[in-house]
Symmetry: C3
């Protein structure tokens, strides 16, 4: 006989993302699109292109997952209800008289609520991806991790492709050296849900969904409230990195020190501060 707590968690794991959580996800994604330079101009001059970009932002993870499993990437267009919902949100955000939606979104409680609900959808996408990949490859735990990751945070790759085609993608030099926070948190979740699915993690799926969701929502809200980019598991990440890849990191940093000495200026001291403020700015504007 299950306790009320178990029943609560079980009901939580059976919550449908449609329509409210999906609305929050579409809202955050399209608002991030609107804030990009030139997005409003594109919406006026070529609404179809703007609509398509918005759909890629809203359904990007699913599209990437389809591509990786050789399923039709256009499959998301067959889900008429969700397409209609996302299209309505795009239309309201870009063409609402007096920009009412954007003004309402500028209040922080609204942003926090929407961001929190969007994080909830991340859990559901990871779980969906892991389960779906398992139907293709029974023991393919790497495939399950990859598909869970693609569904949960793969939208940015689709966005990158689209910007590459448009010629609007400015790759910054160190982009590929740092994984974004959403990427890391989604990878962690994908690994945990895969090991739970293959019975290597002794926790039930609904419990894991609950605790993982609480964790990512809490950290996201805390990061937005404190305007900080400090990742909660950064110390563990550094320790793991040193254990596995430690000697090369030490030799790499010593190589860097000798480069700095050779340059002869104190530029290395000012660089971390500039880098930290850049990261903070990116975190507020970027979303996946």
């Amino acid at each position: 006989m299950e306790s009320p707590w178990d029943e609560l968690i079980l009901s939580f794991s059976r919550t449908s993302m449609f329509p409210f959580f999906d609305i929050a996800h579409y809202l955050v994604s399209v608002m991030a699109l609107k804030r990009e330079p030139g997005a409003v101009t594109v919406a006026c001059k070529n609404p179809l292109s703007s609509w398509f970009t918005a759909m890629l932002r809203c359904f990007g993870g699913g599209i990437l997952s389809c591509i990786l499993l050789a399923e039709p990437p256009l499959r998301f267009l067959a889900n008429n209800t969700n397409i209609l919902l996302a299209s309505s949100i795009w239309y309201i955000i870009f063409f609402c008289p007096s920009d009412l939606v954007c003004q309402a979104y500028s209040f922080q409680p609204v942003q926090l609520l929407a961001a929190g609900m969007k994080e909830v959808t991340r859990t559901w996408k990871i779980v969906g991806g892991v389960t779906h990949a398992n139907s293709y490859y029974k023991n393919g735990w790497l495939v399950m991790i990859a598909i869970g990751w693609a569904r949960g945070a793969g939208g940015s790759i689709i966005t990158t492709f689209e910007q590459l085609i448009k010629g609007t993608w400015k790759r910054e030099a160190d982009d590929w050296l740092k994984m974004s926070y959403p990427s890391k948190i989604t990878l962690l979740g994908s690994v945990m849900f895969t090991f739970q699915h293959t019975k290597h993690l002794a926790i039930s799926k609904h419990n894991l969904m609950f605790f993982y969701t609480i964790f990512i929502v809490a950290t996201k809200v805390a990061m937005m409230l404190t305007q900080t980019s400090i990742v909660p598991f950064a110390p563990f990440e550094d320790a793991l990195g040193r254990v596995l890849f430690g000697s090369q990191q030490l030799s790499s940093s010593s190589a860097k020190k000798s480069e700095t000495k050779f340059n002869g200026t104190g530029s290395s001291t000012s660089k971390p501060t500039a880098e930290a403020s850049d990261n903070l700015q990116k975190k507020h504007s970027k979303t996946e």
Copy 2:
């Protein structure tokens, strides 16, 4: 009992594109390729690369449609007859002694005939795409529109990818703000054939094929004869844009006016003329 007119239209809708209309399509596509700077050099130094580019131009729409429906993109290579035909046309165009084919193609009646026949193939491709997508997703009218559009005018996207890989793609700043005329006309056709297929348009398929084909052939020939880029449905397009997206367009144009005033010169008056002549030049050289 059908009238002779009905029988005529029915026979027209059952015409096979092979071989004459396909020849016209391949001819126009490969001639457009030959006119690109450096194409002849590539054909001499690396005939395989030139041949592959020509095949992408000839079969690009089908390839894109396969990618979007997760079918083997290489499937077009299994159709040995069409590949042989397209390859022969490529060979004759690039390696014919004294450039006989190009000299014959330089006569306007030949160009008009080939362009007209190529437009006929567009109808057949759209219809094929819509029907094929319907076999995948019964009520997926968005998928049907997308696949019809991809088959009819998607070759340019495949060409863009190829140029992106080669590094020869120069994206012009406003490219994504304007859809080309072939894109618009194909989208319109795809929408109409999809609604006819889902019984939302009260017209038989062969009638729609006939009238749509007459329309696109007539407009294409008229545009080539008058050397103009005026799109026949531009007024309707503008009106629809103002109704659906009107307020933002007005605010966008007023934002532009204030920008021009701030710049202090009369450059805004000269820009439309330069833009119109650029468009005209593009329409003659570009083809899909």
Copy 3:
């Protein structure tokens, strides 16, 4: 009753590539990755990105073949044994204390042995690709050639895509005018194995595998020993080119001569020497 020679060749054709030949292939691929500028830095700062790039180098041909046949590109991740083997080799190469593996690899006999064994895997990949494509398209000999080619030498295309996304791909102006030696040799092999499969070449599969393997291993080792880029079948290639595409080549070279005269300097004489030494350098560093 088969002769001992036939039995020997038959046993050779049934040799499994796992584990030793696969190890050689992964070793050569990852060593080539390590020698690229910045690769060590990426491995220290973002080991996951470095690992993924290494996997693309090791399994690139199979991934491309999957994409072209609309099979899941992630399928290689389901082969846990090979992934574990390739990952171990990546880890040892990048993070071995005192760079022991790289120091051992710097001896020429080790490089020759590894390169030779890698060439053996090329044959197996081509044969696998041709057979696999035949299961899809019975008479599609072009598809069979393309898939055999993709499996045997397609890794470079996947690498190019990856560098394109990262923004580290510097396309040199004449890249698309010259096919690399591995591309040419793989295409030749793919054509031969396809015609053997369709019974157009009167030789048994195991004999063709043996002689083709001997040929590509011998030429590869000879090119590494003599530090030369002279392709053994270049005269036949030139002759075939002149027969099929000859008149245009003559007119193209005469067009070039008139360009050189117009420029007024003797730069055309110095260019071939510089070009030859560039090619030699590229052949030693590039691998597929």
